[in-house]
Amino acid sequence: MKNAKIFPALLLGAGLLAGVAQAADSTNAPRNPRLDDQTQLPKAPPKPARQQYFQPPADTDIPNNAFGELVRRGQDLFMNTKALAPEYVGNEMNCVNCHIDRGRKANSAPLWAAYPMYPAYRKKNNKVNTYVERMQGCFQFSMNGKPPAADSEILTALTTYAYWLSTGAPTGKALPGRGFDEPPPPKGGYDIARGKAVYEKQCQLCHGENGEGKKVGVTSVFPALWGKDSYNWGAGMHRINTAAGFIQHNMPLGRGETLSDQEAWDVAAYINSHERPQDPRLVNGSIDETRKRYHADDGVNLYGVVVNGKKLGQGVQ
């Protein structure tokens, strides 16, 4: 693979295209605009030195009553989404794959930092998003599936679990550890070829030569990073900046905080320069139109960008 120092060019392109996206007419707006949401989270405040991250309650604190039952059911669904809610999951992912330690780990988009921040107002489109809608977004994009209904047992259980994890957290106040705490873009941009070298040395053992992950029987153990079993082109993780944050804090598994900013960006770019399921918001069957409307202004990403002579965003089934 050739060196692809496309980062500065991309930012420029993104800036130019952003204007176009806003000017685009709205006749092709998605059928359910409320699901149109894996937008970037605002930057979380830094953790003051010598202060701990918020500590969610322990499992022993789950009460033994109907509420506790629902908390446990939510936790089970969060860890075993594919097995317990197969009709809503189109790939092989589980929520816990990206929200480590059952949604408890700081800098892995923990649920205790998320739940108290909804409903959230978005100036960009003058809309209010609920917690349930945010989860539906993860079903549609991260899980490449079909979101369960807002009042379904599944989303009620998942909401109850997040509510319980947030016990004692302040409402409406962003906590340190929210989201993935992205490292700043490296000065010289990122490099896909260098990212491949990081991948082969540090990630391949688990995630496989072709990013396919590893299974035991039908159970996914190491999740897929690209290809049909992975998140789709509309998922937040397809942004290089977002993936870089997740990776730097959480990967290689158990050895987070060992990659430099540069390595995290490079390997995130390598992963996200591979094909994955199509963005379900595909506009008129056109990658270019979809890029204009949804990707040009969405952090740093390679959807619709030509890499090594191939335009990305073809999708895989």
Binding site: A83, V96, L205, V216, V221, R255
Partner: protein
């Protein structure tokens, strides 16, 4: 396939003379199950079954590990690591050093073909915080310790070539390995006791240091509890059902 020359037969004495001529033949003749039962061509490569059991399931009380059903590449890697000294053990190192590369390949293949450990896909019980099951199924993320099953597979049945099963191994063996990765810290002298020197880790062969930091950060009590947990899973007689999801 031609059977290898049995040990201690009169012909064995001729071997040194014939060796150059025989070498290509012997290379092909290395027979895995023969090595298990009779050892390698070099007598120092003792028969594996004396310690690893006639069924390859190890000897729990002595801390001799199960080899039956371990991945071929993993077995070969361990034998190479013993040889190279990345994994130190007074018993296994001389044995590994006495096996030819062909014998290593053959015996690894033969053990991999024996039955794998089998754990029923019954729903896992909810682990209690502070228990061995908790470390195995939930980890200790505040110390960056992922749940063991995240790498060693559901119920510890192993994943691919690089992540060996923990189910099927004895508590003593699991404990020994975790302590081998950890070594022991130096203890300073007190008025009544002498200083004890640190013992460096004797197992240093985990890819990218994935295992070592985990062993280092577990307490003795946690090591014992988690070893007991995996040893206590036992083995199911029912065949592994690949079509059923294993829950976390």
């Amino acid at each position: 396939m031609r059977k290898p020359v049995p040990q201690r037969s009169p012909r064995f004495l001729l071997l040194p003379l014939l060796l150059p001529a025989l070498l290509p033949l012997l290379a092909h003749a290395a027979d895995g199950s023969d090595i298990m039962q009779k050892g390698g061509a070099n007598p120092a490569a003792m028969p594996c079954i004396t310690c690893h059991g006639t069924d390859g399931k190890g000897m729990a009380a002595a801390g001799f590990p199960r080899l039956a059903g371990l991945p071929e590449a993993y077995i070969a890697k361990q034998l190479a690591d013993f040889k190279a000294g990345h994994r130190e053990n007074a018993v296994m190192q001389p044995i590994a050093q006495s096996l030819t590369p062909e014998e290593v390949a053959a015996v690894a293949k033969a053990y991999a073909e024996l039955p794998k450990v089998n754990i029923k896909p019954t729903p896992v019980e909810r682990p209690q915080p502070g228990s061995g099951a908790w470390i195995a199924l939930r980890g200790a993320w505040e110390r960056n310790i992922p749940e063991c099953t995240l790498c060693h597979g559901p119920a510890g049945v192993g994943v691919g070539d690089a992540f060996p099963p923990l189910a099927g191994q004895s508590a003593l063996y699991i404990e020994n390995q975790l302590k081998a990765w950890r070594g022991t810290k130096a203890v300073a002298a007190t008025r009544k006791t002498k200083a004890v020197a640190a013992v460096p880790p004797s197992r240093r062969n985990d890819p990218n240091g994935l295992m070592a930091h985990i062993a280092v950060d577990l307490s003795d009590a946690e090591i014992k509890a988690v070893a007991d947990y995996f040893a206590g899973l036992g083995e199911s007689k029912e065949a592994f059902d690949e079509s059923q999801h294993r829950l976390r």
